[in-house]
Symmetry: C2
DNA sequence: TTGCAAAACGAACGATCGTTAGGCGATGAT
DNA sequence: ATCATCGCCTAACGATCGTTCGTTTTGCAA
């Protein structure tokens, strides 16, 4: 568990420690605020308490630092969606609820990581971008499949499954742009409400 | 009307012409792809067919170019929402539909402008940022007020009005990230479906 | 206490950044 | 015909960019 006085920065999956971890955290904070190209390695180094040249004992390049963050965010997201999907094998509605809750919770718990992962893809080299896109496709596929399962079972009814996915997925992604503890919502409240909205949206009146 | 062979770049409200307009268009294309800090003035100049120094006869700075785009996008958005809201003074449901359609349509017609306006705010100076935030507040207020009107009239029913706004507004914003004519949806189709989803979401089963 | 690997350092590399200064040629009104 | 204006030019400014080099410091094992 992280300290209580600041939002989670890196998910538990990260095994980075020491200076490497500090650099990841610093990069997350600054990239999340001003974007990859808006932050210099000198800034990163200063925030991490070392000299710019010392960074290169811990990472191959500035872009590798971004790639590490983006990959971490996408893998965490995909794995959480997988767990959510598998937690409700029998009930499509509950499966959908679990997926939306997991999707929203990720963006509430790691808003900075989600922001970086969603808007700095343009700074990745083609190889890295392709790897990330494959993970995105997996996550998207789980949501889409569940929507289609529900439609097939007659419990959901939508004019277009992909557009429903776009609304549900997109609104969850945006949570990372506005959420903060100061907003007065608990994570539980947000994810439950979003799950409710998703079910409403998927079930015809 | 713009040429049919490419997506709209600048809305009709822009009175820029000649080299100034060309610079705005080039900035929109490149900022939209790689972000404000990811594009140099030399790149902008080359894409516009002039030398870097010649740009400064048409604009005060690179940041002013961004500010012009961001302000244009936000003003167009607010004005369209205003027109939509005023088009249906009597029927809350239809007013909400009109607002969502306008919101989505803006993001479908000007995806690049919307992207720049939504993710490059960090590169604006405080004064510009404040101006933009005020316009955002106006637009957001119109959507929120209409939701609350519907709840007050008993035609909408939501656990939390602001979270409903976050879902409806956020999903519309995300349209700018995925929409392209090649997706196979018509703008009409998207905005109608999103409006349908919004009403579903706002009305209890 | 010595030895060694890890980690930090100062200095500098060539490249590129946003911007300015001053000149040159075409255009259009007087 | 003259002259001011305009749009673009070349050249360069100082600053900062990401990264590399070789050296020194640090912390732990022998």
């Amino acid at each position: 568990m992280d300290d209580a006085d600041d939002v989670n920065l890196l998910p538990a999956r990260s095994d980075a420690d020491g200076t490497h971890r500090r650099l990841l955290e610093v990069a997350l904070l600054t990239f999340g605020e001003r974007g990859f190209h808006g932050v210099s390695v000198r800034e990163l180094a200063e925030a991490a308490g070392i000299r710019p040249s010392s960074m290169y004992a811990h990472l191959a390049s500035k872009e590798a630092l971004l790639m590490e963050l983006v990959a971490m965010g996408h893998e965490e997201h995909r794995d959480r969606l997988r767990a959510a999907r598998d937690s409700e094998p029998d009930n499509v509605t509950e499966r959908m609820r679990a997926l939306v809750r997991a999707h929203v919770r990720l963006h509430v718990e790691y808003p900075l990581l989600a922001r970086v992962a969603n808007r700095e893809l343009h700074a990745l080299k083609p190889a890295g971008l392709e790897k990330v896109r494959a993970i995105r496709e997996e996550a998207q596929g789980m949501l889409l499949q569940t929507i289609q399962d529900g439609v097939g079972a007659g419990v959901f009814s939508v004019p277009d499954a992909w557009l429903a996915l776009a609304v549900i997925g997109g609104s969850g992604i945006r949570v990372a742009e506005w959420w903060s503890p100061a907003m007065g919502y608990t994570p539980q409240e947000v994810e439950d409400t979003y799950a409710d909205f998703a079910i409403r949206l998927l079930t015809a009146p």
